[in-house]
Amino acid sequence: MSSAPDVRRRPAITAAQFWAVARRPRWLAALALCLAIAGGFAALGQWQIQRSVDNATVVEIDTETAVPLAEIASTGSGVSDPQLGRMVSVAGELVDGDYVLLTGRNDGQGGSDHWIVGHLVTPEGDSVAVAVGTTTEDAPPATLDAARDEWVGRYFPSEEPQASDFEHGRRSALSIAELVNLWAGHGPVYGGYIVLADPVPGLGDIRAPAPDREIALNWLNVFYAIEWVLFAGFAIYLWYRLVRDVVERRIEDAQAESAQVANVD
């Protein structure tokens, strides 16, 4: 066995030495392959960016222009995300004797309000719960002097009934399932309730802010896009690394040979 040359350090190589190997058809083909892979990765990154933007724009809905309730919602089904907090309009009449008082409703200022919830019947015979305003009374009115051609307000999903303390005649949750049992009679029922934009005369305003629909860029997709860009860069680097390995091997082999020759001498 001959004494090994200095293999502890990797040899320094010049650009000329590198390109002498890189220019070979085999390594040019490898470069083409790596560029194709990098291109594919970049395309995947582009797709992820596209998706993150698409996901963000889907969220953008005009919630502030009132649309007929029947257009966006149907009876017997709950409130889906795009319907939530939307301004809707509906025609119909409030049913006397079907008013319910809700206590402990958050007024948005750290206190609580009493709400009056009415039963609106549309010309089609459908039922929808309408929060008509706040009150200082402790009992719901039997009748309200209120008639409108069109009721405009924000549409919200029904709440869970268990929060109500119904044994003491007090309710705090606006649960459609519960209201249906209190009403004298009803047609097909909408799964959500409407908070009137303008309360019925004599009652106070209910705080119902516009839904918070900030454009949420999908960060998961953004991170995936960054990942693909890194992978694309890595594919190119891998080619460079493989070529450099070949060059280093040639230099080391040459060193080993000359060392052997020197030993023989």
């Binding site: 293999v7 502890r8 350090r9 998961l220 690394r241 493989l242 390995d245 080391e252």
Partner: protein
Amino acid sequence: MPAGPRPDDVPRIRQTLTLFRVSAIITGIFLLMLVVMMVTRYGFTLDIAWTSAYGFTLEPREIIEQQGAVNVSFIILTVHGWLYVLYLGLDFVLWRLTRWSFGRFLFIALGGIIPLLSFFFEFAVPRWVREVTERVEKPVEATA
């Protein structure tokens, strides 16, 4: 004749090998969970949900989102993705240091894609490492 690692790199090879073995086990476990998750999602179109009330259940993805439950399938998918990136990184560093063939780098890379393969690498790779490190360490010991 393969070049073999540079003697100065041997301690770093050992460190990387330890990390690689841990990574191989964890990635392998997540890959098996990924198989389960793929079967439920694409076989039964159900995702795995977790709720404190019912524990693990199988439900359609939309229902899980509506309920605000934890979508375990999604977590498995994402975590495996990142663990695989880490596994590939360690594979790359190991391949650089040991100066194995490029084919072996690609072979080890398959460990994050083919179920159970990473458990094989978990004990095969240390053997391959020993083969190359013994070769460089012997002449060093002889001269010392």
